[in-house]
Amino acid sequence: MSKTIDIQAKTRQLLNSGQVSCVIGYEIGPRGRTRPAFIYQPDDAERMVWNRSCTHNLVPYVSDKLQSIEKNTSTGETETTQQQVAVVVKPCDSRAINVLTAEKQFSRDQVYVIGVACEGIVDGAGFGREDNGNLQARCQRCSEREPVVYDILIGEPQEVEAVDDYSDLDRLTDLTPDARVEFWLSQFDRCIRCYACRQVCPMCNCPTCLYERDDSLWVGMGIRLNEKRTFHLGRAYHLAGRCVGCNECERVCPMKIPISLLNRMLEREVEAAFGHRAGAAAAPSPLVTILDSEDGISWTS
């Protein structure tokens, strides 16, 4: 319980001091489910809560909240102090902040980061099915229990021995190419292009997504199988070296498509080739910078 009290106290203090105009955190919804909360007034602070179902990655909301501030400041009020937004982040979410600051979506001093030492989120969180008691897949293999970037740390990060051997990928890499085609076609076939995965992803910040345009240069508007496959592969490639592995895309997918397999395969590939871990530091993705000598890549087939 102490984390909730600390977060509430911090929220009240930030809002009272006027340092931030909005605090993004978690609250319990009317039907008892944990959901994102946007607190503007100090006395709403007690709505803030922290429990083992705080699964949502709140970083995507930061840009929207900052935009809304710019709007009202630009309407004539001479807003001198640099208005900030506060956001509650788990260790995996915190890496998203580094990636987005590297990609100039907002500057680091525009965000007051409330880092929480995470003990892992329970499986089934967000859907009111928290009963089966074990952790989400991403938490079982996660050993980074302290956010990489925070202005205040809530709670004591414990030392956790967890190994990420990417075993979930081996199941696929052992198959023959044809079997893999079959597997993925069966998965993509179920996709209904609702774009939930894109909406929840902090890295997908394009104004109008390439795969939602009507010039049908890349993908038509229908839900033909090769178009769906192109959308998923294209999005996976765009996340290479940028995806922080918060796995929200897979959680929210109504059709249960194992999207994280694509992202984690690329995560392993980029780490092996360039020693780059997305969001570990505020650095651009290695795919855009020039080769330096120790990159593992000497592509002369």
């Binding site: 990609e103 910040n205 394009c206 109008t208 390439l210």
Partner: protein, 935 residues
């Protein structure tokens, strides 16, 4: 050539290289790196006076290493620009390691030429006390000497002592010191007075060095010292058996003769008073003469002497007799060793040394500890002193306890006493030598000069104390007793600081430090095999036999004999090539030589670039079958060119190794060309220049000429006639492919096969000339990537089109001319030069240039401002302004990398847009006509 130097439109940048270019046709930004000549080209008249005094000889690459030249040289007889150049490879490690920045390689090079007087003055220009440092220095220069990586370092200290002793011996006939100007300042006959007065307290190494430097800078200097003789620790700290004092007195006398007032027996107590009484600056250089004692029982008993007191009384000539006494010297450093070896000479008493450190870690020189033991001094290392045992007012011993000592931490010894190791060393005289500290009593009592008690006076990084105008240098500043050489180093530095304080910005700057030369073992071996350094082992310092040292203060170490000094000087590898002996600075009357010149970077804006970087000759040493390098008198064509050239190394005489002209010469063609192992291309010109060589040999050397050729390629007008003229002149021609050149009974036998006319397949001659072919320069790859020019299979630069664009490259605005594009003779080079100029002019004279419109363009509607394109652009042509990417139209060259990395395809490359490429792709893949009827 001369017209190039004087043409108003040509900005000639010789001795320079292009480091980087960017931009595009019509608007190239070029960065040129100008290498330092160390001679002001605009001032140098080419009078070559500097080469007359330069002691360093090196092989002359212009003469294909047949002749030698000096370190300061003119590139060639008709060089344009005609200015001389000094070749420096960098700072020699010995100079870099020396606290006084002494240019050891300089005076060693002068000794090597037996110019001992010049060597002495070269030392004295920057080191006032060679006799002292020739004897007692801790010679860091020898530890850093590159020779140490091969066998043993050069005996630099020994050579320095030899020079100073020689100068002392010949001091009456010594020529006047030619160049008294301070190193780093332009040459002046007499220093120009600045009207500033400086008072220096303390006539030790630091004080006197600073005094000398300041006088040479034109300030008037007065030195005060409380003791009756000048020299500080050099005079009272070093006993006569290590340093006879008449040498030091002579050196101090010479310093004073340069216009320095010395007032001895004067203790200055009122430093602010000096400033008021007309001195513009004061330097405190009083050293560290207060001997320390441990506060143990009876340490103040009269039979406890202080180390410096004994040495001072000896220095002032007092007769002391310690025969029959038991003397114990406390302390393990150099001062303790000096005291012990002095004591044993005063009547052969029983002398022993007791110290804290263990035998291996005693701070004194290892060699001197050994000598002390030889002279009968007993060592009791690794113990501390508890009490001076006194019985009926007489000292009888020192109670000690053994310790396990681990060095000093924060000034306190870190040790553990070994229990039960208590014992008494019998002694009736104890001499303290555990360390010295500065005496601060003369400083103003109001504490206006801050000190860090007990260490030393506090100074800022301009060596100034807290009292403005009062400077401090030497042991009084650093507390710990250092070596004489460190004090001299501080003296030089504080003199520069005072000069800057007195004269503001036209004060003397800190010297610019070039990088240090690092010789690999291979470099060392080649310098020895080239004969530039001898292969002799190091000559050690010898000393007088043991018996002659008893009860007298004759100097123990002997100086090197002249032969020994010369053999040692021969061993010096000459690391920096130019030895920085600075002889040339004085020799150049017009003052054009500045040894601290620095590299320069010049930025230019140009419209077009013409590459005419040329070729290099094939090096036949990689082809053993021709015998080059293996057999005498097998030379390359360029070596022949230098020999027959009257301004060449042999003055136009073609000579064999034995000095006689050859009677028969063979010229072998296609060396390194048209072969699978070496270069596959034909070098085009060797046939013709071989004919020329044949005629020259025939006419000037009147020797029999045999030319072995595979094909006689007389490619353009007049060449066939030239071939016929050569034949008529009586030159013998054999067709064939040379297989080997061997030495048989004194003559060189060339044999070949594949002969058409089955003539003889071998000939015996005196000399063989190899017509070596052309190949790309070694660094052609690096030059190609600097100008982003691609290369043809044989390595030369690749032209845009072999027929339609021979002088252009794939990049607009960058043109090729001459042999850098492929081997060609002089007429072709001149023609290509004209061609490249014509194409360049045709571009430039248009005034404006039309560039392809295919550059990047942003659809701001789709741009998320993520900046991935900014990181991807090789030309930094994109910026993010208010959240959206903006392309700089002029620096974008249209490579399209940004269009590929943009996740949202907001970035478009005009004329290569995604839409156009996808359409092209669909068309290309619509193989609507499948060739069923493929046979």
């Amino acid at each position: 050539m001369a017209s190039v130097g004087r043409h108003p439109n040509i900005n000639l940048m010789a001795y320079s290289e292009v480091e980087h270019i960017s931009g595009y046709i019509g608007n190239f930004d070029v960065r040129v790196h100008r290498k330092p000549r160390y001679i002001d080209a605009s001032v140098c008249t080419g009078c070559s006076k500097c080469t007359e005094v330069c002691p360093v000889d090196t092989l002359n690459p212009f003469d294909m290493n047949l002749g030698t030249r000096k370190a300061v040289y003119r590139h060639s007889a008709q060089a344009v620009p005609g200015s001389y150049t000094i070749e420096k490879l960098g700072v020699a490690p010995c100079r870099n390691a020396c606290p006084t920045d002494q240019r050891a390689q300089g005076y060693i090079a002068l000794v090597r030429e037996k110019r001992y007087a010049d060597a002495y003055w070269a030392i004295r220009r920057e080191h006032p006390f060679p006799s002292v440092c020739g004897r007692v220095c801790n010679h860091q220069c020898e530890d850093a000497c590159s020779r140490g990586k091969y066998d043993e370092p050069v005996n630099i200290m020994g050579i320095k002592r030899f020079v100073s002793d020689w100068a002392f011996a010949n001091r009456d006939e010594l020529p006047e010191m030619r160049d008294k100007s301070l190193v780093g300042t332009p040459f002046v006959h007499e220093p120009v007075s600045t009207g500033k007065k400086v008072a220096i307290i303390g006539a030790g190494p630091a004080g006197l060095t600073a005094a000398l430097d300041l006088v040479r800078l034109g300030h008037s200097v007065k030195v005060y010292d409380s003791s009756p003789i000048a020299g500080g620790m050099m005079r009272v700290g070093i006993p006569p058996h290590r340093m006879p004092d008449e040498l030091l007195d002579w050196e101090i006398e010479q310093i004073l003769n340069e216009g320095i007032e010395l007032q001895l027996n004067t203790r200055i107590d009122d430093i602010p008073g000096l400033l008021e009484s007309g001195y513009d600056g004061v330097l405190v250089a009083t050293g560290a003469h207060r001997v320390k004692k441990l506060a143990i029982r009876n340490s103040n008993h009269p039979q406890n002497w202080l180390s410096l007191d004994l040495l001072k009384r000896i220095a002032l000539g007092e007769e002391i007799d310690l025969s029959g006494k038991k003397v114990v010297v406390l302390g393990g450093g150099n001062v303790a060793l000096d005291v012990a070896r002095t004591a044993i000479r005063l009547g052969q008493p029983e002398v022993s040394i007791a110290c804290l450190e263990s035998r291996g870690e005693m701070p004194g020189f290892d060699w001197e500890i050994g000598v002390a033991e030889e002279e009968g001094i007993r060592l009791f290392p690794g113990r501390t002193f508890k009490e001076i045992v006194v019985e009926n007012e007489h000292v009888v011993g020192v109670r000690c306890v053994e310790v396990e000592f681990r060095g000093f931490k924060g000034g306190q010894p870190d040790m553990d006493e070994i229990p039960g190791s208590d014992h008494v060393l019998p002694a009736d005289l104890v001499i303290w030598a555990i360390g010295q500290g500065p005496d601060f009593s003369f400083l103003p009592p109001d504490g206006s000069v801050h000190i860090r008690y007990p260490i030393g006076v506090v100074t800022d990084d301009e060596m100034m104390t807290s009292l403005p105008g009062v400077f401090c240098a030497g042991d009084v500043r650093r507390g710990m007793t250092f070596f004489v050489v460190d004090a001299i180093g501080e003296g030089h530095h504080v003199a520069r600081c005072i000069d800057r304080y007195l004269r503001g910005e036209n004060g003397l700057k800190e010297p610019y430090q070039q990088d240090v030369v690092e010789l690999s073992v291979e470099d060392i071996e080649t310098r020895i095999t080239d004969g530039r350094a001898s292969n002799q082992p190091r000559v050690p310092i010898s000393c007088i036999p043991l018996e002659e040292r008893l009860n007298n203060f004759r100097e123990v170490d002997l100086t090197l004999t002249e032969e020994q000094a010369l053999t040692e000087a021969e061993r010096c590898l000459g690391c920096g090539l130019c030895s920085e002996c600075l002889e040339c600075v004085a020799a150049c009357e017009i003052g054009a030589i500045h040894h601290d010149m620095q590299d320069e970077l010049v930025d230019l804006k140009v419209g077009a670039i013409i590459l005419a970087t040329g070729f290099q000759d094939f090096d036949p040493s990689v082809a053993p079958e021709f015998g080059y390098g293996r057999l005498n008198n097998v030379i390359t064509a360029m070596e022949f060119e230098r020999m027959i050239n009257p301004s060449g190394p042999t003055g136009g005489e073609v000579l064999l190794k034995n000095g006689k002209p050859p009677k028969s010469v063979a010229i072998l063609q296609c060396i390194g060309s048209r072969s699978e192992q070496y270069n596959s291309h034909c070098s085009r010109v060797c046939c013709m220049y071989s004919l020329k060589i044949a005629q020259l040999v025939h006419d000037y050397v009147n020797a029999e000429v045999h030319e072995i050729y595979r094909d006689m390629r007389t490619v353009s007008g007049g060449y066939e006639a030239f071939f016929n003229r050569t034949k008529q002149a009586g030159v013998n021609f054999y067709h064939g492919q040379v297989t080997e050149v061997e030495k048989k009974n004194g003559r060189l036998v060339v044999s070949w096969d594949e002969s058409y006319y089955n003539e003889p397949d071998h000939v015996a001659v005196d000399m063989v000339i190899l017509a070596t072919g052309f190949e790309p320069r070694d660094d052609v790859g690096q030059v190609a990537s600097t100008f982003s020019v691609s290369r043809s299979p044989n390595g030369f630069f690749l032209e845009r089109h072999p027929k339609l664009a021979p002088v252009e490259t794939a990049t607009d605005g960058i043109y090729l001319a001459g042999a850098c594009q492929s081997p060609m003779d002089i007429p072709d080079c001149v023609a290509q030069a004209g061609g490249a100029v014509a194409v360049a002019l045709s571009m430039i004279d248009q005034g404006t240039i039309a560039l392809e419109p295919s550059i990047a363009a942003v659809e701001t509607l789709y741009c998320a401002g993520c900046g991935q394109c900014v990181a991807a652009c090789p030309y930094l042509a994109i910026e993010i302004t208010d959240g959206v990417a903006v392309v700089n139209e002029y620096s974008c060259k249209g490579c399209g990398t940004c269009a590929a990395v943009c996740p949202n395809k907001a970035m478009k490359l005009i004329h290569y847009s995604d839409q156009q490429i996808v359409a092209e792709m669909i068309g290309a893949l619509n193989l609507s006509v499948t060739p069923e009827e493929v046979t």
